[in-house]
Structures are given as structure tokens and as C-alpha cells.
Symmetry: C2
Subunit: 234 residues, 2 copies
DNA sequence: CCTTGACCGTTTTTACCGAATCGGTCAACT
DNA sequence: AGTTGACCGATTCGGTAAAAACGGTCAAGG
């Protein structure tokens, strides 16, 4: 990541607002350059292509989201439980509407990029543990009761996550309870179902910490490799 | 409802397959008539418009779904708990793919009809209790612990329902656990969270029975009024 | 050096056409 | 009385072509 380049940063900032408002397809390189106060040519000094721009946007948002998730989870009073992990994720999502739309593969936002073969989502997912694997690890560490089916639990978690990031666009905005309460409810519900009676054991906490770190490092490594590749191509 | 008219029934059956396959927009009245073995003119002897056809389809599917839901819930071993109610709903949904798509307001299926002002969804919802109201009633009857926020619970239920009917189209079909296990998991999760320790009391069961009946009667009344109106317009 | 905007080839949008098809009607026929 | 299919105006479709906008490049200028 090259935050030293102020031009790149301004382009990314401009792109974020424009893409968030009009989507990838309806946001032109010229527009982004103009909004950032540089020429179109300069855009191509910072990015190799329009795709590289959106990918950088997605990756930085993912990084910021994951960082936020990490601090949220580690500060959670029930750290070590699936509920805490999940509540942290939801709280982080709530603060990052862009991430919500990325997560649900919003077609309006991502446009044609979504159908690009070998897009950043596929490549990112390659290194990351799936939700099912993560839960299996947590179960082995005692963070999840041994009598529940981890794969089923993972699927239900996916269902809830998807419903949560998708529903707001579906229902009328009126009358939905405060997000914080909803997240707390979901988190507690997960814990009632999944967490053993003896609460989050130290080994559960350690496994969760390791899992979070693995995710963070995986993403960081991906970003570093990418940054190096970009620098080399220059 | 006039099941005595075999022509109407055949038109509806033909429409169901065609609409399910090609959607409302791409299914023409002529096609439906031909598939039902009658002329286009005859179609308009049975239905006042194409909209009336899709509405009848939606309403009958809703009725069949609700009936199925009712038997499923009443036969459930944990009848009287929210989990049982919910598991029954999911099981009924699983058997009625059309209802799933109606519930999520599938644009491909419903096409232009979806954007029609004063469509059947708005009119149907008018008489029915919202999920929030239903849960409030259940809570008062002791089917839900008094220390949970019923409106939050209702919202989370909506989230799960929406995620469940929407996710299958989103994720790859591979690797999802069997529906029955998923439903059971969700139902148990709800019960762990919502149902009081003393289990489903008789009063809870009574309230739930009343609630189900209210829903069934509301829909039946709506259908009857509609059928009468249609007969009168003839 | 670094930056620019005119320029390139391609893709997308717009406009337009007649033909086809749409939902809906109704005089004619069985 | 019950049913039909030709018919209506409106909408959509498929094809075409001109115009606009696109992503990306690079000689020229600062």
C-alpha cells in the first residue's frame, strides 16, 4: 500500500463517493480524475486500469472493515464466543455501508466488474478460511458446543448476514429497531445456541484470536503482494 | 373462490407453470390461453385482466402456503413456541418455491406487476397482523420471555426469513446443508432465545392457535370478498 | 522528469424504422 | 348462452446507423 502518493489517495477518495453514488459502470475514469482534480492521464499514472481502481477500493474497504471488526470483537465483553465475533462483525458492517454492498455483491455498485473472471473476490477468498472452517476450528477449541453441527451453524450465520445486509433495501426504513439492539439480539441468540455453558474458555479465546489474526494477516499479505506487483509493473 | 369453473382452474394451472418458468412479463395471455386449451376470448370470460390472473395466482399460493404452514405448525412437537411456528413456516416454504419467490418479491417472477400501485401485496398486508404485532400477542400470552424486546425479535425473524428465501439464488448450490437440519437449527435457536424455561404453556398454545386462525381467516375473508366482487362484476 | 489533453479504437447510447406482439374488445358464429 | 378469433391501439422488438462516451495511449509542452 502506498499512502505516500497523495494523488492516489485523492483519486481513491473521489472514486469512493462517485462509485458509491452511481456505481462502477456509471462512473467514468474522466469523472474520477476531474473530481480528484487531476487529468485523465494522471489517473493512469496511479492506476493501471479502471479495474485496478475498484479493486483497490474494495481491498481498502475490506481492510478497514476487518480492522474495525477486530477492535470491536476484541473489546467485546463476551470475547471468545461466536456471538461476540458476530456482533462485532455486524457493528463494523453498520459503520461501513460500502462493505455491506460489497458483501452482498451489489450489482448496482459493482456493475460489470462483478462478472469479470478472476476478480478480486475470487482471489481474496482463496486465502481466507470459509465460515464453515472457522466454526470447525472454534468448535475444536471449545468455543462451540460439541453437539451442534458446525456446518449447519455456519450456513445459518451466512443466512443471517445476507439477510441483514440485504433487508434494509427491501423493507421500508420506518419502524426498524435500532441496529445496536438488533445486533445484540442476534449475538445473544447465537451464544444461547452455540456457546458451551462454561462460557468462553481461555482456549476458545486463543483460537478466536488466532482465527482473527489469520484473517487479518491473509488480507494484509494479499494487499502487500498486490502493492509490490503494482510497484514492479511501473 | 370458484373452483367449480374448470376453465379457470386450467388457466390458473397453465399460468402457474408459465409464470414460474418465464415470469409475468414474458408470459402472454395468448400463451396461457393456448396452454390451457382455450381461446384468448375465453380467458377474458374467466379473468377481467392479466393482473387479475397473477393476483389470483398469488392469493391461491398464499392460501395453500398458509394451510400447509398451519398443519405443519399444529403437528409440531413443540407447538406453542416461536421456534415451532417458524420451523413450520420454513418447512412450508421449502415445499412451495413459488411462495418463496413471492415472499421476496422476486422481480423476475412478478415483473411489472410488482410496481403496480395498489397491488395485491399492499391490500393483503392491510388485514394481516405484522410480525411485530404477532410476537407482541405471543409475548403477552407467555409464549415469549418477558425480558426480550418483541419488536427486535420480529425484525430478526424477518431478516432470517428474507435471508433464507434469498440466499439459495446467491450462493452456489454446492455444500449447503440439508434444509431440514437448517430449519431445525433456526427453530431451536429461536426457542433458546425466546421461549420461557417452563416451555409452551397452554395459554401460549391457545394464543398461537388464535393467531394462526386470525391469519387464515383474514386471508380467507380477503379471498371471499374478492371472489364476490369478481362475480358481481361479471 | 512529470503532467497533460488531444487522439485512438472500441463500446454504449440514441434515434428511428417497420414488424411483431402485447393486453384487451366485440361482432359473428356455434 | 357460450365461445371464438379477427381486430384495435399501444407497446415492444429487432435491426441499423449515427453520435456520443468510454477506457486507454502518447507526442507534445511545461
Amino acid at each position: 500500500m502506498n499512502d505516500a502518493d497523495p494523488r492516489e489517495a485523492r483519486l481513491l477518495a473521489a472514486a469512493e463517493t462517485l462509485v458509491l453514488r452511481h456505481g462502477y459502470d456509471k462512473t467514468s475514469v474522466a469523472e474520477v480524475a476531474r473530481a480528484a482534480g487531476v487529468s485523465k492521464g494522471a489517473f493512469y499514472l496511479a492506476f493501471a486500469s479502471k479495474d485496478e481502481l475498484i479493486e483497490e477500493l474494495v481491498l481498502r474497504e475490506s481492510l478497514a472493515f476487518q480492522a474495525r471488526w477486530g477492535t470491536e470483537v476484541r473489546a467485546h465483553p463476551r470475547f471468545g464466543t461466536v456471538g461476540a465475533m458476530y456482533e462485532g462483525m455486524l457493528a463494523a458492517l453498520e459503520e461501513r455501508p460500502l462493505m455491506s454492498r460489497i458483501m452482498r455483491r451489489d450489482a448496482q455498485l459493482l456493475g460489470r466488474y462483478l462478472h469479470r473472471p478472476g476478480n478480486v473476490f475470487e482471489r481474496m477468498a482463496a486465502g481466507q478460511p470459509t465460515r464453515g472452517e472457522a466454526l470447525a476450528v472454534l468448535q475444536k477449541a471449545g468455543a462451540i458446543r460439541s453437539d451442534v453441527a458446525a456446518d449447519v451453524a455456519a450456513h445459518v450465520i451466512n443466512i443471517i448476514a445476507f439477510g441483514l445486509v440485504s433487508l434494509p433495501d427491501f423493507v421500508v426504513a420506518t419502524g426498524t429497531p435500532p441496529p445496536g439492539e438488533v445486533f445484540a439480539f442476534i449475538g445473544q441468540m447465537m451464544d444461547h445456541m452455540l456457546t458451551p455453558a462454561d462460557g468462553p474458555t481461555p482456549s476458545a479465546r486463543a483460537a478466536m484470536e488466532q482465527l482473527m489474526q489469520r484473517g487479518e494477516e491473509g488480507l494484509a499479505r494479499f494487499l502487500d503482494a498486490r502493492a509490490a506487483e503494482r510497484r514492479a509493473r511501473r
